[in-house]
């Protein structure tokens, strides 16, 4: 690990000022950043610890939404009564991620900003356009079995590893940030960008911007009641997704009145399945409708040599998940 200076930020303004120095990064829980520093992927000269700033509260909002501080730990959000009752898909996505130990330390802001687990990104002996712009992408012709099938570019086929972000993309949220140019908010989906020809940028955040809070949109009870997060992985627990889906569906008299679908481990960020939703709204809650919805979304899939299996996997995952959610109303 490269040597670095460490300081604790007194408040957000102090943190933003400190991170403006060259080679400076924010430190939250550190479960991803410290690991990447050990690997030599990240080489900050200075860390500004923001994990003890007063952004660790979860509050109900008057409109039925929820405000979540950026420094809230993953485990605390998963265990929060409002999340368990009103956003079960979010609780399940958090509980599907990492291990108990990691969830106790990792922050919500850090969860959103964690880096890809593409093996080439994590191996400094290999080229990687995300880690070293312009050096190339060996994944496109190499080991890409678990990489993107949607929205990738010639320069990058990485996937975003967060489970929580997939649920947030289905629910809808605003990310509140403060930075050198003041405060602003960024919607999810929208925080994470597609790689294009600038894969070094995972998100639309500007340098020095600090995530202080998320505000979740209210999730209507009809949707929340039938909502879930389902993750396919290569072992039963503590493993990154091969594919995942966050889904919520409101069914009345056998017809889908409203729905939310987002898929994970398929793209550079969480993928809101707008086309699937459009196909499903107003359709009968039948397996044929679910399949049509999944296929409408996946028509734009562009799998690589060794990950074409993900296309039918995601299709079947969407169909099975919607089927389970609607099981007792068909």
């Amino acid at each position: 690990m490269r040597p670095f200076e460490y300081q604790r930020a007194a408040d957000a303004a102090d943190a933003v000022a400190a991170v403006a120095q060259p080679g400076t990064m924010y430190l939250g829980g550190g479960t991803n950043l410290v690991d990447l520093m050990k690997l030599g992927v990240e080489t900050p000269e200075r860390l500004v610890d923001v994990s003890r700033l007063p952004y660790a509260d979860v509050e109900d909002l008057p409109d039925g939404g929820l405000r979540v501080g950026g420094a809230v730990r993953n485990s605390d959000l998963a265990a929060h009564r409002s999340v368990r009752e009103r956003y079960p898909l979010l609780a399940l996505s958090l509980l599907a991620g990492a291990s108990g130990q990691l969830r106790n330390v990792a922050t919500i802001a850090g969860n959103l900003l964690q880096r890809t687990r593409c093996p080439y990104f994590q191996d400094v002996s290999k080229p990687c356009n995300k880690r070293r712009p312009g050096s190339g992408c060996p994944a496109r012709e190499g080991d890409h079995r678990n990489l993107a099938i949607l929205g990738h570019s010639p320069s990058c086929v990485a996937t975003h590893p967060s489970d929580m972000a997939v649920a947030l993309a289905a629910i809808g949220a605003d990310v509140h940030v403060t930075g050198p140019d003041g405060e602003r908010s960024i919607p999810i989906p929208g925080l994470h960008r597609l790689p294009g020809d600038e894969p070094s940028r995972d998100t639309v955040l500007e340098p020095g911007e600090l995530i202080t809070a998320l505000e979740l949109e209210p999730l209507a009870a009809g949707l929340a009641t039938r909502s879930t997060y389902r993750k396919v992985r290569e072992r039963a627990s503590f493993s990154f997704a091969v594919a995942s889906v966050a889904a919520a569906v409101d069914v009345v008299d056998g017809t889908v009145r409203d729905c939310r679908i987002a898929i994970g481990a398929v793209a550079h960020g969480p993928w809101r399945a707008w086309r699937a939703e459009e196909s499903l709204r107003g359709a009968p809650s039948t397996e044929a409708s679910f399949a049509a919805a999944a296929e409408a979304e996946l028509a734009q899939a562009d799998p690589l040599r060794d990950n074409a299996f993900k296309v039918p996997l995601v299709r079947n995952l969407i169909v099975a998940t919607l089927g389970d959610l609607c099981g007792d109303v068909r």
Binding site: Y6, G30, V34, S75, E85, L95, L102, N104, S237
Partner: protein
């Protein structure tokens, strides 16, 4: 002349005792415990947060000591496997691991036990897991729940068949 790497003067509170420390900022909590304080119970397995051998309790919560910077946990109460018993009597989980023969080589055991202490407290606080059918009900630590909640601790000897009942005896 070699460049002086940044160091920090910190105090770690470990098992109820204050330990002043002058350490390179790169020092992880795990290395501080093992190399500076001589507390070698917490083990270095993968050093990347994937195996759980380094699990300790930070302010009562289980965490991977290998991914925490020592400077970042100044002000927190650290409990390691050495701090669980009272010096004479073992912690009930330590007794249960012995009674159930819940290890072979023993390398993962301190992490397993610290993790189980934290896990049982989480369940008593009502935290659900990924296999809890009802997210709002009080969790019941059956074998499936224990396996899921302990998935951050790997045992390469494969002693899981005895680890699960050892934890269950204390948890239920």
């Amino acid at each position: 002349m070699p460049r002086v790497t940044p160091h920090a003067d910190i105090t770690l509170h470990v098992n109820g005792i204050d330990h002043p420390l002058h350490a390179d900022t790169r020092t992880t909590l795990l290395d501080a415990l093992r190399e500076h304080l001589g507390l070698t119970g917490a083990k270095k397995g993968c050093d990347h947060g994937q195996c759980g051998a380094c699990t300790v309790l930070v302010d009562g919560r289980r965490a991977n000591a290998c991914l925490l910077l020592a400077v970042a946990v100044e002000g927190s109460e650290i409990t390691t496997i050495e701090g669980l018993g009272d010096g004479e009597a073992l912690h009930p989980l330590q007794d249960a691991f012995v009674a159930y023969d819940a290890f072979q080589c023993g390398y993962c055991t301190p992490g397993q036990i610290c993790s189980a202490v934290g896990m049982i407290a989480e369940a008593r606080d009502g935290w659900p897991s990924g296999v809890s059918g009802d997210l709002t009900a009080d969790p019941v630590l059956d074998d499936d729940e224990i396996r899921e909640r302990m998935s951050g601790n790997i045992c390469r000897c494969g002693a899981y068949a005895n680890i699960v009942p050892a934890i269950a005896e204390v948890a239920r």
